[in-house]
Symmetry: C2
Subunit: 198 residues, 2 copies
């Protein structure tokens, strides 16, 4: 159909999550039509990211420096480590702007059915970071899924002997959420964890 060069670009574009064969064609055509403003800069940004972005050896975050900008930032609370499943969760917490400590990216959750064991995640690295001292609290901020909660329990067990404080995110009604649309489990948890106002 089109030239092999355009075909190859469409082929690669269709592998981007969120784009299918059809939307990849549409997107590719849009990119080619906006060559100067979009296609060239995007190609350069991708090449730069492919070359420069690496995993932080300490927390597992993605950044152009190792240690990453968060680990290097001395104004952040070095005594609190927030454990997240993936870099996207770290980004979400940073966007919320409610946490000023350090992070630890596990790189997934335990999942015996998928063959993911503790040795496949960055759990030993976390234990080492805590054992090295200077950490007073580990906040386990894993997703509220079955695998996430299983992993959270496993982490709590492993961290118990270090004597460090381990906490979890609160469950409850999302801010702006309507009770009518919430599942029973969330409602029951929110009711059980109710806080007195006076």
């Amino acid at each position: 159909m089109a030239s092999s060069e355009i075909d190859q670009l469409i082929q690669l574009m269709s592998k981007i999550p969120g784009l299918g064969a059809r939307s990849a064609r549409r997107a590719t055509l849009h990119l080619i039509k906006h060559r100067e403003s979009l296609l060239s800069p995007l190609g350069e940004a991708m090449a730069a990211a492919a070359t420069n972005v690496k995993n932080c050896g300490s927390c597992g975050n993605l950044d152009t420096t190792d240690p990453c900008g968060i680990c290097q930032n001395n104004t952040r609370d070095q005594a609190t480590i927030c454990v997240v499943e993936d870099v996207s969760d770290l980004w979400a917490l940073e966007r919320a702007g409610a946490f000023a400590g350090l992070y630890h990216v596990l790189g997934g959750t335990l999942s015996p059915l998928d063959g993911v064991g503790p040795e496949d995640l960055r759990i030993d690295e976390l234990i080492t970071r805590v054992a090295d001292g200077g950490v007073s609290e580990v906040i386990v901020a894993l997703n509220a899924t079955v695998d996430g909660q299983t992993t959270a329990h496993y982490l709590t067990d492993r961290l118990e002997e270090s004597g460090v404080k381990v906490s979890h995110l609160a469950h409850g009604v999302p801010v702006g959420g309507e009770l009518d649309y919430l599942d029973d489990g969330t409602l029951a948890t929110a009711l059980k964890s109710r806080r007195s106002l006076v």
Copy 2:
């Protein structure tokens, strides 16, 4: 949140049609995690396309050569020109594999409300191609929208004096389409243009 390099990539990714702010973050993370297999090749393919892809001076198609591969192909019927609105329509017809002539990409449709007049489209180039001779039929394959049909009528008027045969795509029931889901206009046209079987 992330490093400025990753932020910039997310920012550019979110300008791809079909991706929003959230899916651009997810896609960027996926790309970075698949650096060797996806991010690097995609960056290279984009840079190559930005450098090499150009518009065909004859038909307006996008290709790495000018004239494009279709115009250069001597086995195609040089006497039939199919007029399409956009390169994506040319691609669609090529995928269908039902047309073996040449194309002419208008680059849009007439739209007085948006200030698109005949001088903004590649209409004069089409008239010149037809006037240069060797063309026996112009197939107007514009979208069945109001703007598309307006443009089709305008083209028919302009081509009338050249004496060349001008045809339009047939309207009717799409192959695999169910009558119950079709709009009244399509059904009425399909009925009016019915073809006898015996």
